[in-house]
């Protein structure tokens, strides 16, 4: 095996990074267990948990009936017993079926009862894979108005691993959204540290520095933003790209620092625009950095429609690189 091939071999995909986090946390702490549909010997619909059932046994990787509310409820109960449950939604869209359990039981529990419910709910989100209206969702805004839930969405393999570890170790419930488009994207393969690390919840990452306009985003849209920044650079516009990584609570400090530098902001996300989390970000910037704004904040997001299936429709629905370029160009000329 040549050195290059070896290096190649040690590189992991986004998906493998998630699996590594699960495996390492399960090894580190016997209280960590997994629960969900088809996650056992089958390894899950996307094979995220592949091998973990063989390694840790059926007691630590629990297959359930098709019952999202029960999965999340049972995870919450187990958390109260001192366990660290990681519940999988086969597609994150099905989290809607457990909305009440999450927003009324889990999110409010510590506040009402004085003790926490440390648990993670994870699953594949996002579109671009022709999944249609029920397998392409980005539900962050559904949960953002229910205080008590943290919401995380990584965009790199390194972050996915480190954030998932942080989520599992967190004393409070964390929703962990994994953009399925990134799961095996070759561009995301990277070599991860051998040693244990976490990426702290609540900290954004500046993926690209720039001086003319700030693009605030997360998840798969980070790559659209980076690609747009490349294009913008050709046109002489220097875009800074902030990857929030944590959506709730988002890293206001990093966002404001950037906007105060560039004086222009685009908020970019894949969920529909109206009622999306972009409103929160935009409103916060206006509240806290109004003096520094030299142009309106533009939200670039998907259409206010369900996610359509057919490629021309889905492409039209979702923000494209050119949309971002257009918005940034417009802002810069403002």
């Amino acid at each position: 095996m040549t050195a290059e091939v070896h290096e190649q071999a040690r590189q992991v995909t986004f998906l493998e990074a998630i699996r590594e986090a699960l495996r390492e946390e399960m090894t580190r702490d016997e209280k960590v267990f997994l629960i969900g549909e088809d996650i056992g010997s089958y390894g899950g619909a996307f094979k995220v948990t592949e091998g973990l059932h063989a390694e840790f046994g059926a007691d630590r990787v629990i297959d359930t009936p098709i019952s999202e509310a029960a999965i999340i409820g049972a995870a919450a109960g187990a958390a109260m017993m001192g366990f660290k449950p990681v519940a999988e939604m086969q597609f994150i869209d099905f989290i809607s079926c457990a909305f009440d359990q999450l927003t009324n039981v889990v999110s409010k529990w510590r506040y009402r009862m004085g003790f926490g419910v440390p648990m993670v709910v994870r699953g594949p989100c996002g579109g671009g894979v022709r999944g249609g209206p029920f397998h392409s969702g980005n539900p962050e805004a559904f949960f953002a108005n229910s205080a008590g839930l943290k919401i995380v969405e990584p965009s790199t393999a390194y972050d996915a691993k480190g954030l998932l570890k942080a989520a599992i170790r967190d004393p409070d419930p964390v929703l962990f959204f994994e953009h399925k488009y990134l799961y095996r994207l070759p561009r995301l393969r990277e070599t991860l540290p051998d040693e244990d690390y976490i990426v702290p919840i609540g900290k954004a990452s500046v993926r690209r520095e720039g001086s003319d306009v700030t693009i605030i985003t997360f998840g798969a849209m980070v790559y659209r933003a980076l690609d747009a920044a490349d294009k913008l650079a050709e046109a002489g516009i220097s875009a800074e790209v902030i990857d929030l990584r944590t959506i709730v609570p988002f890293d206001v400090e990093t966002v404001l620092a950037s906007v105060k530098k560039t004086n222009r902001a685009i908020v970019l996300h894949e969920a529909s625009r109206t009622g999306g989390f972009g409103g929160e970000i935009s409103a916060t910037i206006t509240e806290k950095a109004f003096e520094w704004l030299e142009a309106p904040i533009i939200r670039v997001a998907s259409l206010d429609t369900p996610v359509p299936y057919s490629p021309p429709l889905e492409d039209f629905y979702m923000p494209q690189v050119d949309d971002i370029v257009e918005a940034a160009t417009r802002l810069s000329a403002y």
């Binding site: 267990f33 009936p65 999965i71 409820g73 049972a74 109960g77 187990a78 958390a79 009324n104």
Partner: protein, 320 residues
Amino acid sequence: MRLTRMVEEKLGILSTQGKVIGSLYRSMGQEGTAVGSAFALEPEMGDVAAPILRDLGAVLTMGGTPTEVFQQYMAKNGPTRGRELNIHFGAPERNFIGPVSMLGEMIPLMCGIALGFKMRKQPGVALCYIGDGGSSTGPTHEGLNLAAVLDLPFILIIENNGYAYSTPTERQSRLTRFSDRALAYGIPGVTVDGNDVVAVWEATREAADRARRGEGPTLIESVTFRMKGHAQHDNQAYVPIEDIEEWGAKDPIVRHERLLLETGMASLGDIDAMVSDIHAALDVAVAEAEATPMPEGSTALLDVFENSVAERKPWLAPIS
């Protein structure tokens, strides 16, 4: 049961005095279910109960105190620091946890408690309650099925008290026996006379033993009657007067005390003494609750997350 009845009667007085904030829920006439079942648990084995709105008796049996109950109803800085109302409070160290309002949602959660016992290989049992009405909800089904499939040490008691708010049981379900629901999950189901506290105790005890033997969940239907309206504002005009009379004659407290007297386990004097002890204790408890301050408004900011403080008046933050 006496204690439960008397706590609620005291609450009735406090409510008339305007000291109770919000609605008062009575479990009058159905105390046998909550008390009998909670008595069957073994706290030393870890057993946990999740009482809901008619289960003050279980709260008190598990070790919740009248003072706490009064504090809750008076919105004082009590067990939930004023954040929650009535018997929405729990004490994991005393083996009971508080409910959410959304009926049915505690069932999956208590499955998780049961799962915890199973994973830890501990003998504990999780006991959950639901009403005839609440049993129509989705999470009831998901939870019971999960408990069955995973063979969890779990007991669900359906308190069939004839009504769900104004809705009589026959418009809640086509069933005449809610224990038949067990047939849908391949688990044992029993129907028990809910006004017979001993019968409830026995059925729960058997179910707990079964669970401890690793044989999975049991569904118990406890047949009883809601003697008062849904809450205090509800005069239950929709309930036939004969039914109230009929069930009144089956009062679980009277019945049980008669048993005690007949079997010589207690004398009339004992009972009188108990009642006056309770009276005295409740007076103390009320005084304690009245002496408890209301929570400080600003404590509302605390502890959404571990050690968190919510942002207050962001409009006053310097814009810079």
